[in-house]
Symmetry: C2
């Protein structure tokens, strides 16, 4: 495994997206590499591994595109695109600890290679680095936006823990949690990109809404991929939502469309987790519209997201944004 | 257990310290309480518990005193004193997860009451809130200082993990790690307090050095209390340094003064951890000068710390600072 970021290798549908911001993404990669060095060899080795876990670099790309669609990209954008990737990587590392996941992007997770203790600390380390970087920007605004996003991410994750085993939550509550735990960082990327390109507050708000909708769509697809559980293709540990009794959209839908017997069986499977219960749930999902329904909802959010940008005149940058949004719902990993 | 902060109850030696900043500490408590609210009841309950774990509020007190010795305390000081307490509480919560500690300040730890997952997230949540608060200050400087301290804390903790089982590290390396993992936040408190009171950069640097020395002394005493292991008095889980094979000053000293047989026995105890090994180590510690030696080193750092403030004219504030510094090495919990 080389250290280079494999945009091209694993994310061909994103080729056009990255092409239009290739130079800037290169700068982000260089800054990431620079930030993730430590004079202590043990810490340095962990950082080098952590650097590879993020992979697709969707959030930096989003921040840069949000900037480019509004004006010029400057060094502040490069710094903040790097900072949001650090926040994202920190959250992945903590997630993997919490899920006891062993694999991510076809590589061993931090907690599999080191241990939970070092992994929790490395997550904290990256979050601190992110704020160091955000606070190297002239105004305090970047820190405000990133800290607020980070706060909402935790809030959403904690709310999700509180709903474990509660499969009767409404779709609205599910969406609300997803908007916090995942979409808040997408929202922050768009806000920062637009703001530091000098966009008007109306445009900043539109892009922020775009980010929110896109982030929700992203998480719905993530939840579909987790329940379908094709680990080989996804390159990461899956199925943990079921094991952890998280009520995700496919399950919420399945419960709402099944008859009384099906509901009962499903709830028993979800709660008691007998051997082979995941496969039985996948069978039930296939017999109903739960997966296409969830996919349609994700698609609806992407359409809504693009609607927020309807006042932008067509351009190669807008086209790249559209491609990114399409990728979010068409991806299989 | 009421929610009020029991400065008076558990920290009588600090009475004079808190008296001189009583009003400001009251404001910090109110702001802490205000910050640690969440609209979601599950998160709110966790926050209310987390609020009580910090206890002595040494770091806010230090920040306020550093401000007061240099000039006037303003609302920025109150915000930042609250922010550093949030950073500290976040690190306590993560530490307790990592140490699998069940008790702190005579109360159950977060991870004992909830679980590791929720506790890791709550730590992240508090760190994010700290940065939200620091970024509500006009200049970006506060975020820089707090993020840098937070980064160094993680760096020190990770270096400590890397030295596990390596009981032959030098005292200097031990002090260096302690300076990062513990003293960096003390340093930040002093820097912020002085800076936002308008101190000259020379005075800011002096106070920063004071904070560094005091923080090192604090950690040496913490390590002594951990190895002596009087949990009833300390009100928290102890002995985990030994279990985790952390080379702390008493052990480093014991290894360096023992003869070859004693060294061998000690290393075997430390590495193999047979039943009752902690008591045997305590016995060995009592037979040598390891504990008084470590106490003397801590005292040396406090004397050095006070030396940094020699150009301040005697005043009730300086006296309070001296009391705080004395408490750090005389405390038994």
């Amino acid at each position: 495994m080389t250290e280079s970021v494999d945009h091209a290798a694993t994310a061909t549908p994103l080729h056009g997206v990255y092409q239009i911001i290739a130079e800037e993404m290169g700068e982000v990669d260089r800054l990431l590499r620079h930030e993730l060095q430590d004079s202590h060899p043990y810490v340095d080795r962990m950082l080098k591994h952590g650097l590879q876990l993020g992979g697709k670099r969707l959030r930096p790309a989003l921040l840069l595109l949000a900037g480019k669609i509004c004006g010029d990209i400057n060094q502040t954008h490069i710094k903040l695109a790097t900072a949001v990737e650090l926040v994202h990587t920190a959250s992945l590392i903590h997630d993997d600890v919490l899920d006891d996941a062993r694999m991510r992007r076809h590589m061993a997770t931090m907690n599999a290679l080191w241990d939970n203790e070092a992994s929790v600390l490395l997550g904290d380390y990256l979050l601190a680095r992110a704020i160091c970087l955000a606070s190297s920007v002239d105004s305090v605004y970047a820190c405000q936006v990133i800290a607020q996003a980070s706060h909402e991410m935790c809030q959403g994750e904690l709310r999700q823990i509180a709903t474990r085993g509660k499969f009767d939550i409404s779709e609205e509550e599910y969406i609300d949690i997803v908007a916090q735990k995942t979409a808040s960082l997408y929202r922050a990327c768009c806000r920062l990109g637009a703001y530091y390109a000098g966009a008007t507050s109306r445009v900043v708000n539109d892009l922020e809404q775009f980010g929110t909708d896109l982030g929700i769509a992203f998480q719905i697809i993530d939840d579909i991929l987790d329940v379908l559980g094709d680990e080989r293709r996804a390159g990461k540990s899956l199925g943990s939502d079921l094991d952890k009794q998280k009520p995700t959209l496919p399950i919420i839908r399945l419960l709402s469309v099944g008859n009384e017997d099906q509901r009962k069986e499903l709830l028993t499977l979800l709660r008691e987790q007998p051997e082979g219960y995941r496969n039985r749930i996948r069978q039930m999902l296939a017999e109903q519209d739960a997966i296409p329904y969830a996919q349609d909802r994700a698609k609806g959010f992407v359409i809504a997201a693009m609607g927020r940008l309807s006042h932008f005149t067509p351009s190669p940058v807008l086209e790249a944004v559209r491609q990114l949004a399409t990728f979010v719902i068409s991806r299989d990993h």
